[in-house]
Symmetry: C2
Subunit: 344 residues, 2 copies
């Protein structure tokens, strides 16, 4: 049987929607002829989602495990009902539907990362084996399904799986940064010490060039030290992005009273839209990669302060994004060492 390439055949409610916005999808693991079945190794929970889950677990005296299991049971996918975000997974190809077999560059037994969000991926968890809180990763026994339109990457052979999983999760961010930054730009990266933040700093510096300026804003002392040591930014500011006025003033101070040509938001918490908007100069650009971004807060916030800027929604996909992200690990020993320490 052939399903819809986009997976609408698995939507249970509300009918008519695509699997991502749907509340609940069918996670029956018998595949359609144009689906791919994956034996899952690990999930990488999106950072905004994992941050919310940990907080909820603390507040309700529950475990991360029970919250994740409940979500997948209720929705048929790891689609955080609070943040709306997902993550991605790595696994081994178990079965390729008859209509796809031989027509795609995958074989049963290949190891892949899915490059579509967990928020639309049919998932069944049999057992949660290990939760790695520091890296947002969860090792499970279970299965998942990739639709015909779903994108994926074969896991590279020259690095650890967990490292590849971590980097591919945020592959969209450096790819978009590379596109958006022009030579001589002043670029502000907010949440610069995190996974996507570090990758964005690297691409920003490469594109802005010697005459450009890359300003990193990071919350923790450790994060700031990491950026300083790695020399990925021209200026590092330790600050809280939920305090827009303080961020604005510190940028003006370190940058001769000038604002950013482009600001990239890579935080994993809410209420950082205004700091991002105020950091950016008129007719500048903002790239919201953070999944904790509120559409209305950004749209009405910019209007509220009369800022004529272009604000981009962080599309997780861009052409060649996985190659660009993995390429950074191959180019920069500094970043590879830093990430291996955290994620492997």
């Amino acid at each position: 049987m052939k399903g819809c390439p986009y997976g609408t055949h698995r939507v249970i409610e509300p009918k008519g929607l695509l699997p991502q916005p749907a509340w609940r999808i069918n996670n029956d693991m018998e595949i359609y002829d144009n689906e791919i079945l994956i034996d899952v190794i690990s999930l990488n929970i999106d950072s905004a989602s994992f941050t919310q889950i940990k907080e909820q677990a603390r507040n309700e005296g529950r475990t991360v495990e029970s919250i994740v299991s409940e979500t997948v049971e209720r929705r048929g996918k790891q689609h955080n009902p609070v943040t709306g975000s997902g993550g991605m997974l790595i696994g081994t190809i178990k079965e390729i539907g008859a209509l796809l077999k031989g027509k795609i560059d995958l074989m049963e037994g290949d190891k892949v990362a899915t490059l579509v969000s967990l928020s639309l991926t049919p998932l069944k968890i049999n057992k949660i084996k290990n939760i790695r809180e520091d890296s947002d990763q969860i090792d499970i026994e279970g299965q998942a399904i990739l639709f015909e339109s779903g994108i994926y990457a074969k896991l590279p052979k020259d690095m650890d799986e967990k490292l590849a999983l971590a980097v591919l999760d945020v592959a969209g961010a450096p790819a978009q940064t590379a596109r958006l930054v022009n030579p001589e730009d002043t670029v502000v990266v907010i949440g610069a010490g995190g996974k996507s933040g570090i990758l964005c700093l690297y691409e920003a510096k490469k594109k802005a060039g010697a005459k450009g300026k890359v300003i990193a804003i990071e919350y923790s002392k450790e994060g700031c030290d990491r950026i300083i040591k790695s020399q990925l930014a021209d200026i590092v500011i330790q600050g809280d992005a939920t305090n827009p006025i303080a961020i604005l003033e510190s940028i003006l101070e370190v940058n001769a009273q000038n604002l950013a040509d482009i600001t990239i938001n890579c935080v994993n918490i809410q209420n950082t839209e205004m700091a991002t908007i105020l950091a950016t100069k008129d007719r500048g650009k903002v790239y919201f990669f953070s999944m904790a971004t509120s559409f209305t807060a950004a749209a009405l916030g910019a209007e509220g302060v009369g800022k004529d800027i272009d604000m981009l929604i962080g599309n997780g996909y861009a052409k060649d994004h996985s190659e660009i992200a993995l390429g950074i690990l191959r180019e920069s020993k500094t970043i590879r060492d830093m990430f291996e320490e955290i994620y492997v």
Copy 2:
């Protein structure tokens, strides 16, 4: 006393935020020296918000009046807690703070429209006089405050106040459309029969030119007829934007299997992100003006179908947006007649 130009001095909770994202602001009507006090004539509730309020009133057996009053009482502003959006207002300048007097082009007694969202505007309603459900407008007795950074427009003398209020509410949309559309583009406008939709059709046609193509998607028969009669689009499709596959197929059918260079979303309901994304070709652009847009649904939805498109958040402000919007009414008798019928 001088307040923060952005209004942080009026934020009650959570502290540190700007007034837009804040949950509650101080609507005490004694002004700071850099604030402006306005005697409000009418509110224009944002369409996504008004649609939600009407639905809630129906479901809970309440009146629109009681829901609006409750929100303003609780939050100190008309900031819809469900949709996150606001609207704008017209009124008469009652008092100008000492620090602003003589330094701005306003005098007490001038009639203005605020061009910042109601979701950040301190508001006190003494009496709701009249609710005009067809035009999303509410006449009240009450007062509001404009911060130093808040933008406004003097009401034009060559048209009815209610007409100006209606058009200025969505002034960002035609201004952004004019910027984004290039000659010969295929432009799809979703929710094309509404207020912002009609203005976007006009600008799209002007910019795309004779070799371009403007495709209007509209839900109701009346709306479609209105567009056809006014000749604002090359092709009119009656369709439901919550059904992405149907919209995709109808666009391919009428447009020789080609997708849009740019798609503009002007609907007032949820779950239309996927139709917008599917309508757009690879490396095309999407402009989400709708306040019912979900950030995660757009970001993860595009990724989920591997669409490499640039998605813009509908910033309500763009340079000269009020002049552009009012200019359309002066240029096009068709649109002016159409809008006078609805809004005056």
